[in-house]
Subunit: 288 residues, 2 copies
């Protein structure tokens, strides 16, 4: 099998399918990004998303708000977007200013437009295998497993990390009774005793802890498949900085059966998942 | 530590607290049970629940419907209960006739009255550690762990079973960052290869598969704590039938550190959890 599980051919396929479906039907799916303040990384990400989306036939708008916006004002703005039939997806760009209650804001987004998949109703739908929006990063992991025909049924998958946006939803997805599910799933985290004992037993290791090169090659068995969700910025003597994953790549690549690179792995698929969710939201909207 | 983790002292405490809180405040929490048809086991359970609830100060009513009730009629009846300010909790007694769409019915129940904790919004709240209703059986397991001061932090807990009402919510609860959480959690099920390999490594085994005495003593390590969620009716030469758990009790009791009995274990706590949820729903209602 392919040893370096690169995202490129998968992304190409997803984007071609999205573009084709949108243009064939002359659809106009519209994503609105809520951006509060001028965080440079957030702004860069949003501009990039806009360019990418427009190329595929999406309308991507940004609602830029002053960092001093009150909770109430923001909730009102969200309500306007919730009821606007020309808006199909709403994305909340982080980070949010500290005075805002993120949990309440996420709850205020219409679950049918919640393309991030962070609303508790969508999380519940995910657990119960009901139709809804799956968060982009866990969905990207499933797409990579599926694209490279990595069987999950009966496999022991060890997830490192229990975040609300990656580890927990992923664990629930991998337990589903379908092609990318049916796995025996272990969730490890900061309180886990003897992490290497668990990872060494795993057929598939999914690292989602946000710590640069935390998982070492000697924590993995040779037949393991490694999915690296981490994207960590570290210093680089030549370029100033570079991005690395949660897994020590070179040594692991030499050892294991297959591994996703960083960059060019899971992270690259998440934007495609977001746009897929926008198209799904559009279709929900026109069919209802 | 106590070797046989019996529910009795815990239940006694929960009921005393509920009764005390209700009578002190002169509250009148009201649970409505939706019962469709005359399944004898369901009827027996409901009557029992009514007696128990009334003793503690709850009003427990039954809405008995003809098994031929249509989906639409039932949804209308639920809507009436949803908006009735004198009804605080709604419980859907199973089994439902096959022509009814259970998923749609659960979705129709007001999440603030969903004392079963089966609505996707409550499941999402559970995963995201937000306030909501936790399903009774997983909650009963947590209460037993807490009552017997069984530490979960850093422990490796193996859950056998991935049902929507026990295995999956329990896995998410045990990952929470609190006193009955912070565990390393493995979920095994029918597709798991080499189940004994997993159970033998577990500090705590939770069996929730619904198969009589499926887990044998030789699948457990001596220091293990065993929580048996199963309640299975089996033939008994003397009494006609009896109830046993998912774990072979006698041999396991001799071997392991502690184990819940069946009957008299997890199952006995679930009704107390349901009534706790009804009181919680009442308090939500009066505070809003």
């Amino acid at each position: 099998m392919t040893k370096k599980l690169i995202a490129k051919p998968l992304i190409k396929k997803i984007y071609a399918d999205l573009k084709n479906e949108i243009s064939t039907n002359a659809w106009n799916p519209h994503l609105v990004i809520i951006l509060i303040g001028e965080d440079p990384a957030a702004k860069y990400y949003v501009e990039n998303l806009q360019k990418k989306g427009m190329k595929k036939g999406f309308k991507v708008s940004t609602k830029l708000f002053d960092p001093a916006i009150s909770q109430e004002q923001l909730l009102n703005e969200i309500e306007v977007l919730n009821t606007d039939s020309n808006v199909h997806g709403i994305m909340l760009q982080k980070p949010l200013p500290k005075h805002l209650d993120e949990s309440e804001i996420v709850m205020a987004i219409n679950p049918d437009k919640d393309v991030d998949g962070f609303h508790p109703l969508n999380m519940g739908n995910l657990v119960l295998d009901r139709d809804g929006f799956v968060p982009c990063t866990p969905n990207a992991v499933l797409q990579i497993l599926d694209f490279y025909e990595i069987e999950t049924e009966g496999k022991h998958i060890v997830i490192i990390g229990r975040s609300d946006i990656v580890g927990k939803p992923l664990a629930n997805l991998l337990l589903r009774k379908n092609k990318t599910g049916n796995a025996t799933v272990t969730v490890c985290h900061s309180r886990t005793k003897d992490l290497p004992k668990h990872t060494k037993e795993a057929d598939i290791v999914i690292a989602a802890i946000g710590k640069a090169e935390f998982v070492k090659a000697d924590m993995l068995k040779e037949s393991a498949i490694v999915i690296d969700v981490g994207v960590n910025q570290v210093e680089d003597p030549e370029k100033g900085y570079k991005y690395v994953g949660d897994v020590e790549f070179e040594a692991s690549f030499e050892k294991v059966k297959a591994i996703t690179p960083v960059p060019g792995g899971v992270g690259s698929v998440t934007t495609a998942m977001l746009l897929s969710n926008v198209l799904k939201a559009f279709k929900k909207c026109v069919s209802s």
